[in-house]
C-alpha cells in the first residue's frame, strides 16, 4: 500500500481522523468489493501524484448563490463523505487542502456551471435551500488526472437538475457525487460518459426525506483500450420515496466497461418505489462487460425492480432495417444510436449525442453520411 503519512494534517473543516479512517477503509472488504474492476491502488497512486486545484469551482455566480471557502467559515457544514465506503473521498479531501460551499438560497436565472479542472479538485458542498430550484451543469471536457468530490444537500421541496458529460478520452478520472435529499426534494440526474484511459464514476443518492425522488439516466460509449467503471447507489431511507435509474452502455473493441447498481431500501422506508436498469451492448467479442445489480430490502411494503443485461445487436432488428433498404453498416449504426439515445437525456443531450456520433463514426467512417437521431432532428 501507498504511504499516506506524507499527507500531513487534514484541514480544519475535515474531521481529524479522516486519514486514519481512509487508511483503514482502503484495506477493508467493502473497498475490495466496490473496486473489483478498477485498481484502487493505481487510482490512489494517480491521486497522490496530482496537483491541487485552488480556483473556485464556480466562475459565474448568479444572484441568490454564494461561494465560500470552507476554511473561512466559523462553523463549516459537515462534509458527509461515508469514508468506509469511499476511502478515496477522504484522501481527495485531505489532498485538496481546500473545500468550497456553494449556497443556493434562491432560484438562479441561469445554470450553475461547475468546473472540474485537471488535478485534485477541492471537495464542494452544494446546498440547495428549501423550495429552491437550480440547474447544475458539469461539462467536464478536460483531460489529464482529475478527481473531484461533490456533496449535494437538497433541502425540503427543492428541485435540482444535474447534468454531467464526461467526454475527454485522455482523462484519468475518479469522481464522486453524493446527493442527500430531504422531504419532497427532487433530483434529476443525467450523467453521460465516454470511455477514457481510466474513468471511474461513483454516484450515491440518498432519499432521506418523505416523498423525495430521483430520476437518473446515463449513456456510455467505450472504445478500444478504454475503461469505464460506474458505481451507482440509490438508498431509500424516507417513506414514499421514488427512484428511476436507467443506464445504457455501448462497448466496442478490446474495452472494459463495468457497472454496479445497488438499491438499498432501509427499514421504515415504506412505500418506496425503486427501479434500476442497466443494459449493455457489446459490439465485439473482445469487449469486456461486467454488470451487477444488487438489492437490499429491509421493508415489506415496497415496489422494486431491477435488471441488468449484456447483449449484442439484435439480428431481427438488423434484418428489419435491411429489409427496408438500409445497408448493413447503416442499419448497425442506427441501432447503436437508438440504444444510446434511449438514455441520452437532459440539458447536455445534444452535445453528448454529437460526441458519441463522432466516436461511432471514427470506428466506422463509411457510416458517417447518415444522421438519424442526430441533433438536427431532435
Amino acid at each position: 500500500m501507498i504511504d499516506l503519512d506524507t499527507l500531513g494534517n487534514p484541514p480544519n473543516w475535515l474531521a481529524a481522523d479522516t486519514i486514519e479512517r481512509s487508511r483503514a477503509a482502503l484495506e477493508g472488504g467493502l473497498a475490495r468489493e466496490t473496486w473489483k474492476y478498477s485498481s484502487l491502488t493505481k487510482t490512489l497512486r494517480m491521486l497522490i501524484g496530482a496537483p491541487g486545484v485552488s480556483r473556485a469551482p464556480l466562475a459565474d455566480v448568479p444572484e441568490g448563490v454564494s461561494v465560500t471557502r470552507l476554511s473561512a467559515l466559523a462553523t463549516p457544514p459537515a462534509l458527509t463523505l461515508d469514508i468506509e465506503r469511499y476511502p478515496l473521498a477522504g484522501i481527495t479531501a485531505s489532498l485538496a487542502a481546500e473545500g468550497w460551499l456553494i449556497d443556493v438560497k434562491g432560484s438562479p436565472d441561469r445554470p450553475l456551471v461547475l468546473d472540474c479542472e485537471t488535478g485534485i479538485n477541492a471537495p464542494t458542498i452544494l446546498r440547495v435551500h428549501r423550495g429552491c430550484r437550480v440547474d447544475i451543469r458539469e461539462p467536464g471536457a478536460r483531460g489529464g488526472v482529475r478527481a473531484s468530490v461533490r456533496v449535494l444537500q437538497a433541502d425540503a421541496g427543492s428541485t435540482v437538475c444535474w447534468a454531467q458529460a464526461e467526454l475527454a478520452d485522455d482523462a484519468e478520472q475518479w469522481w464522486l457525487l453524493k446527493a442527500q435529499l430531504k422531504d419532497n426534494a427532487s433530483l434529476e440526474l443525467h450523467q453521460h460518459a465516454a470511455g477514457a484511459r481510466f474513468r471511474r464514476l461513483d454516484t450515491h443518492v440518498t432519499l432521506q426525506g418523505t416523498g423525495s425522488n430521483c430520476l437518473a439516466t446515463g449513456a456510455g460509449i467505450v472504445g478500444p483500450g478504454e475503461h469505464l467503471d460506474r458505481q451507482q447507489v440509490v438508498e431509500h431511507a424516507g417513506r414514499n420515496t421514488f427512484s428511476r435509474t436507467k443506464l445504457h452502455n455501448l462497448a466496442g473493441g478490446r474495452s472494459r466497461c463495468s457497472f454496479n447498481g445497488r438499491i438499498h431500501i432501509h427499514p421504515g422506508a415504506s412505500g418506496a418505489d425503486a427501479d434500476l436498469s442497466n443494459k449493455n451492448l457489446a459490439l465485439d467479442i473482445e469487449a469486456e462487460i461486467n454488470t451487477k445489480p444488487e438489492l437490499e430490502i429491509y421493508t415489506d411494503d415496497v415496489r422494486c425492480a431491477h435488471g441488468a443485461t449484456v447483449g449484442q445487436i439484435d439480428p431481427n432488428a438488423l434484418f428489419y432495417l435491411q429489409s427496408r433498404g438500409l445497408p448493413e453498416h447503416r442499419a448497425r449504426r442506427i441501432l447503436c444510436i437508438g440504444f444510446l439515445t434511449e438514455c441520452i437525456r437532459g440539458p447536455l443531450a445534444d452535445k453528448v449525442l454529437n460526441a458519441f456520433l463522432a466516436r461511432l463514426d471514427g470506428a466506422a467512417p463509411s457510416a458517417a453520411a447518415e444522421l438519424p437521431g442526430g441533433s438536427a432532428q431532435s
Binding site: D314, P315, N316, A317, F319, Y320, L321, Q322, S323, R324, G325, L326, P327, E328, R330, A331, I334, L335, I337, G338, F339, L340, T341, E342, E370, P372, G373, Q377
Partner: protein, 264 residues
Amino acid sequence: MRLLDIDDLHVRVDDKPILNGLSLSMNAGEVHAIMGPNGSGKSTLANVLAGHPGYEIIGGSIRFAGADLDGLAPEERAHAGVFMAFQHPVEIPGVTNMEFLKAANDSRLAARNLEPLSALEFMKKVRNLAQSLDLDSEFLKRGVNEGFSGGERKRNEILQLLLLEPKLAVLDETDSGLDIDALRTVADGVNRFHADGNGVLLITHYQRLLNHVVPDHVHVLADGRIVESGDGSLAHALEERGYAWLREDREDTPPARRSSGMRN
C-alpha cells in the same frame, strides 16, 4: 410479364427441412394468396424472399423481375423492389418511426441515384400516408413499433409499403389482429398499391381479407410445398372445410399434376 418465378425451392433451418420443392409463379399486377396450416412454411417463404440470413437455400431458384435473387443482401432485394410486411414487426426503441422512415426512403432514393426529399416534403408525404391509414401522426414520433398495438404495427407496415413503392409486396398475415375497420383501411392501402400495377403475395389464414383484396390465384402451402392452387373459390372451400380434405385428396393424385396445376 413475369414478376416472380420460384422453382423447386428447398430451404432448411438448422438442418431442419422447411420448404421442400416449392414452386410458384406470379405475373406483374397479380394478387396471389397463400393459405396453409400453422408451421407449413409460409413465413419461411416470405423471409427467404426478403433475404433473411437465417435460412439456408439448398436447392431451387428464385427469379425476381428477370434477375436471380440468390446472393443478394436484404437491402439489395429491397432496392430491386421486394417488400415484406412482417408477421411480427420488430420494435426498435430509441429510433423514432419518422427517422426510420426517412432513412429507409433516403436509401431507396440513393439506390436509384435520386436526391432525398427535403425534410418538409418528406414529413408531408408521411403524414398524408399515415392519415390515409388512420394512424395518428403521434406514431411517427414514437420509437419504431415501440408499444404499438398489434393492429398499429400492421398499419405501420402498410405505411412503409406505400412509402417505399416496391414492385412486390409480400404480406405475412397483415390481416391478423386487425379490427373490422382496420381491416378495411389496410385493404384499401393494399389495393392502392396494387392499382399501380404492382404484385401482391398475400399470406393469410382467413378468407375475410380476400373479400377486400380480390386474389387472382389462391395457393395452399402444406409441408413446405404448394399442394393446391385455384381461384378465389378455393379460399371459400378452405374456410368451410379446413385443410384435411386436401391431404386425403393428395394421396391419390400424382404430385407432378399438382405442381403443374399451380403454374400460370
